[in-house]
Symmetry: C2
Subunit: 339 residues, 2 copies
DNA sequence: CATACTTGCTCAATCGATGTAGCATAGATT
DNA sequence: AATCTATGCTACATCGATTGAGCAAGTATG
C-alpha cells in the first residue's frame, strides 16, 4: 500500500513531509511524535500530516531523534552462545522484558571470545546503550571497567564479577540438591550408597567451583568422601566430556553429576555406546527438554531465568554498587522413572 | 584503568577531547576515525589525542556519526524464537557473518506474533538498518511491503514470500529422503513395508505443505498410499503433538515422520509412557543433538544454515528481485542403531 | 476601542561527528 | 625577492529531529 511516489531512492524526512503538507518541519515532528496537542497543532493538520507520512512510507530517523533527545532507551546484552536452552531463554525473555519497559534490546553473541566481548561492549556503548547486561562473560571485570569509564550501567548475569553488580544462580544449593537426588536414586535403584562422578566444567570457573562445592557438601552430609579421580573437568564441551569418559574405569553400576547440558550431549553419546545403559543414573545441572526424557536422567537443576532477569532489571533501576551479589535459587526438576 | 576524571556524569565528546588537547574538534574526529593521515594531521598530535581519548573513556557517538555519514552498516534480522537449535544457529551464524562483512547485526525475536514482527521491522528501519532478513515470519509480505516503502532491502529466510526474494530449505527433497530412510528402517527392523504417520505442523503452512508433499512422494515411489488419518497436523508445539497422539490407535510396530524438533519433544514425551518403546522408528525434520541420541530415531534432516545464510548475503548484495526463490538442500543425517 | 488571552502555528538553536574549503607557516624553487 | 608547494591544522555547514521562544490572527473582556 504505502507508496513512496517520486524520489523512491531516499527515505523521506520531516522536511519532505512538511513541504508536501505545506507546514513547517516542527509541526510535522510534533505531530509524528505525539506532542502535537501540547504544542497546539490542530487536529485537522495532524490528520493530514499523518496521512501523508503513511503514504510516503515515513519512519523516524532514530539516529537523529536520539542525538537530539540524548536518551536512546537502548539496553544491550552480551550472550556467549545460542546453543542451549538456558541462553536461548535468557535472550528471549530479556527481549520481552526490555520491550515491556519501553526499551530497545540489542543482543550480541560473543562466542566466549574475550576480545569479541569487549568489542561488542564498545559497540553497544557507541550506539548509546544506556545499560549493559553482561552474560556469561569470560572477563566481566574488563567490560565493567570499560562501561564505568563510559558512564554506562553494567550488570553481570550468570557469571559474577567484582566491578559491577552480579546476578547468578545459586549454584551451590542447586548442585547440592541435585547431588542428593542422584545419590538417593542410585541408592534406591542400585542398592548402594556410593560417591558419584562429577563431569564437565573448568576447575577455576566460578560456576563449576560452586557446583563442585555443592556436590561435595551433599556427599559430606552422609559421610561419603569423593575420590579425586571422580572429578573430571575437561571443559564444558561435549567432545571433551566424551573423550574424558572413555579413558575411565567404571563399576557395574554408578551415578554421574553432569555439569551442563552441553556436557550432557557428550555423556549421552558415550552412554549410547554402552551395552547396558541401565548401569547409570545421572543428573544434570541446567535444563533441556530432550535431556529430560532420557531414561537414565533422574533430575535437572533448572536455572530460574525469569527471576534472574527480574533482578537484573531491578538492579539496573536502582543503580546498585559493584558489591551487590544476588543468588537466585534453581528450580529442581526431579524426573519420574519412565514406564 | 580508563578514568573519566572530573565530570563523570556525561560521556565525553570530540569537543571535550579537543579542549583538553588544545586542538580543534575536526582534528580529533579525523584522528579517532582513522582518516588523519589523509588529512595531514601530525603523528605527534594523533598520539596525544588518542591518549587523551583513552584516558577519558571516549567512545564515538554512532548516532551522530551515522547521521552525518548517512550509512549505518546495520543489518537487521527477525527471528521467531530461540528455543531450538535451528534458529539458534541462524542467529549465531548470521551475527558472525555480518560482523565478518563489517556490518552491525541487530536481531529481534518476535515470538511468532505478526504485529510484533511488523513493529520490530519498523524499529529496525528507524534505526536506519540497510537491510532486513525476515526469518520464519508469519506474514512476510506485509513486512516486505513496509520495507519497500521505506526503501530497505528485505530478504525472506526459512519461510518464503512473494514481495521479497526468499531463501528456504528444500523441504520437499529433505522430507522425501527422510521418509525413504524411515520406510527402509521400518522394513528392516520390523519386516513390514507400511505407510508412516506424519505428525506436527499446520496444514496451510508452506513448510509443512512441502514436507508433506515429500512424505507422500516417498510413499508413492513404492506404491504405498497414506491413509488420511495418519496425517496429524495440530501445530508444531510439543503439547499439541503429545495430546494429538494420545487419541490415536497404533499397530504393534510403526514408523513416524516428525515435522520439527519442537514437535519431537511432544512425541518423545508420549513415547516415554509406552511400555515397549522399541515398537517405534522415527525420523525428524530438523536437528537437535539430544534428539539424535534417542534409540528410536533413525535420522534427521538437518537444514543447511551456513549455505542458506551465504545465499542470504549474496541476495542482499545483488539486490535481487522479489521473484527470486532459492531452495537449499538439507543435510541428511542417518543415525546408527545404538549398541 | 484597547488590552488580554487563546489558538495555531513558525523560527532557529541544538545534539555530536564529518568533511570540504581554506588559512597560516615553513621550506623549496625560480 | 617572488612564487610555489607541502605541512598542519581550523572554520563551518551539514545530517534529521526536537524544543524553547515567539509571532500573527482571532476571540473575549473591560
Amino acid at each position: 500500500m504505502a507508496e513512496n511516489s517520486e524520489n523512491s531512492s531516499r527515505r523521506p524526512t520531516i522536511y519532505d513531509l512538511a513541504q508536501i503538507a505545506g507546514t513547517s518541519p516542527s509541526a510535522v515532528s510534533a505531530i509524528l511524535n505525539g506532542t502535537w496537542k501540547k504544542r497546539r497543532i490542530s487536529a485537522k493538520t495532524a490528520k493530514r500530516v499523518t496521512q501523508i507520512a503513511t503514504e510516503q512510507g515515513y519512519a523516524v530517523n532514530l539516529q537523529a531523534s536520539m542525538l537530539r533527545r540524548e536518551r536512546s532507551h537502548i539496553i544491550g546484552m552480551i550472550v556467549p552462545k545460542y546453543d542451549n536452552r538456558y541462553f536461548g531463554a535468557i535472550a528471549e525473555q530479556f527481549e520481552a522484558m526490555a520491550r515491556a519497559r519501553g526499551l530497545f534490546p540489542i543482543i550480541t553473541c560473543t562466542q566466549r571470545d574475550p576480545d569479541l566481548e569487549l568489542e561488542a561492549a564498545r559497540e553497544m556503548i557507541s550506539y548509546q546503550a544506556e545499560a549493559l547486561v553482561v552474560t556469561g562473560a569470560t572477563d566481566p571485570d574488563r567490560i565493567a571497567d570499560f562501561c564505568a569509564a563510559a558512564g554506562v550501567n553494567a550488570v553481570n548475569l550468570d557469571l559474577p564479577g567484582n566491578k559491577a553488580p552480579s546476578i547468578v544462580s545459586d549454584n551451590f544449593s542447586g548442585a547440592r540438591d541435585l547431588t542428593r537426588l542422584i545419590l538417593t536414586r542410585v541408592a534406591q535403584d542400585f542398592g548402594a550408597t556410593v560417591p558419584l562422578w562429577f563431569i564437565g566444567g573448568r576447575p577455576h570457573d566460578h560456576n563449576s567451583m560452586e557446583r563442585l562445592r555443592g556436590f561435595r557438601a551433599a556427599h559430606d552430609e552422609i559421610d561419603l568422601s569423593v575420590p579425586k579421580d571422580r572429578i573430571i573437568m575437561p571443559g564444558y564441551s561435549a567432545d571433551k566430556a566424551a573423550a574424558a569418559l572413555v579413558g575411565h574405569e567404571f563399576p557395574r553400576q554408578f551415578g554421574i553429576f553432569v555439569n551442563s547440558t552441553i556436557t550432557m550431549e557428550g555423556v549421552v553419546r558415550w552412554l549410547s555406546n554402552m551395552i547396558d545403559m541401565d548401569r547409570v543414573r545421572l543428573g544434570c545441572f541446567d535444563w533441556d527438554p530432550f535431556a529430560a526424557l532420557l531414561p537414565q536422567n533422574v533430575g535437572m537443576a533448572r536455572q530460574d531465568v525469569a527471576t534472574m532477569l527480574r533482578r537484573v532489571f531491578e538492579t539496573i533501576d536502582e543503580k546498585s554498587g559493584p558489591s551487590l551479589r544476588i543468588e537466585v535459587p534453581c528450580i529442581m526438576q526431579p524426573l519420574p522413572q519412565p514406564g
